[in-house]
Subunit: 200 residues, 2 copies
């Protein structure tokens, strides 16, 4: 059964990614930040986003706040829903990428498989994997959100690093040692690394 | 059961919509185009997107091509899936809106209820409804995609205008008479109408 909205002719050409990149005077990429809860992903992503804009680049962070509260607000935490969560995040990131925007995704994304799934949707050429590498002891000691304590008490199921595994990237594009260095240093290192890749 | 990715502190402030609008030197809005298959929505949207960029505005069309092939590629055409289709489109449009981008959505969206659903997600202040109003006879005569013929033969289920109703907007923000006027005229009318609303 054919559906009317599912068939499209090719004659109405939208503005291409290349034209958008020219408009914004940048090359678009997806920066995918992975790491434990409390490793500093969101703080670094927010700092990087701001630094990019201050330097004339147009960037957008996709994180739990704007994704889980909106497009993914009907997903739970079953394995199936976790995969669908990552699929939709990757698809939104791909839309932004094709809009010419530097897109920073910040999600624990604990397994090699799940990050590979995102990379396959986005495309390897545009996928920059940043490992936000803080040791579990430090993340747990920080425990900004009090989640590790809850996890230790058994109040949170499948908590990465405690009751479910975190698989570090084998060959990330960049590693930030956020357990050792101040946030601003991590932000600067990320910016300096990315800048040549997004500059026109 | 609390999940670790679902809780976020408020201290990592992302770049706001207002800052992004300032960066792009525009006000963001969602332009929602509704109308029959063949009414010219996609062609007008593509023309409007290009005209906006040529005039220094950053805009993005969301249409069947980039939505159904990606974020919504696991949805069918049951009533439930049609609602979820619109929900996700509206949520993506809202993300783009909050990124400061003028977002043009072009979907048949045949009922008042379904468009209200989108408007409620996006927010009435930012939702501009454009009725692309070409009479059924003209859309069917054009039949660019051969879909009306298929629908008449019973090969397409629930085809808007033939076997399922199209409810025109009661008080759209703007109506384009695309059955009478050339595409370029509709594009110009839409641009002239929108421009004062998106200009800083």
């Amino acid at each position: 059964m054919v559906n009317q909205e599912n068939i499209h002719p090719g004659f109405d050409k939208l503005v291409s990614r290349a034209e958008r990149e020219k408009f914004l005077n940048q090359r678009s990429k997806v920066v995918w930040m992975t790491g434990l809860s409390g490793s500093g992903k969101t703080t670094i992503a927010a700092g990087l986003e701001r630094k990019l804009l201050e330097n004339g680049f147009f960037a957008q962070v996709l994180d739990g706040d704007n994704i889980r509260s909106g497009i993914n607000n009907n997903l739970g935490f079953s394995l199936e829903d976790r995969l669908e969560n990552i699929r939709r995040i990757a698809e939104v990131a791909k839309l932004y990428l094709n809009s010419g925007i530097i897109t920073i995704c910040t999600f624990i994304s604990p397994t090699i498989e799940i990050r590979k799934y995102a990379e396959d949707i986005i495309g390897s050429d545009d996928f920059l994997e940043i490992f936000v590498d803080a040791p579990l002891e430090i993340c747990e000691k920080r425990d900004v959100k009090g989640l590790y304590q809850k996890a230790r008490k058994g109040e949170i199921k499948d908590f990465t690093g405690i009751t479910s595994p975190y698989e570090p990237p084998i060959s990330p594009t960049l590693t930030l040692f956020s357990g050792k260095e101040p946030v601003q240093v991590s932000v600067q290192i990320a910016f300096d690394f990315i800048e040549p890749l997004i500059r026109k």
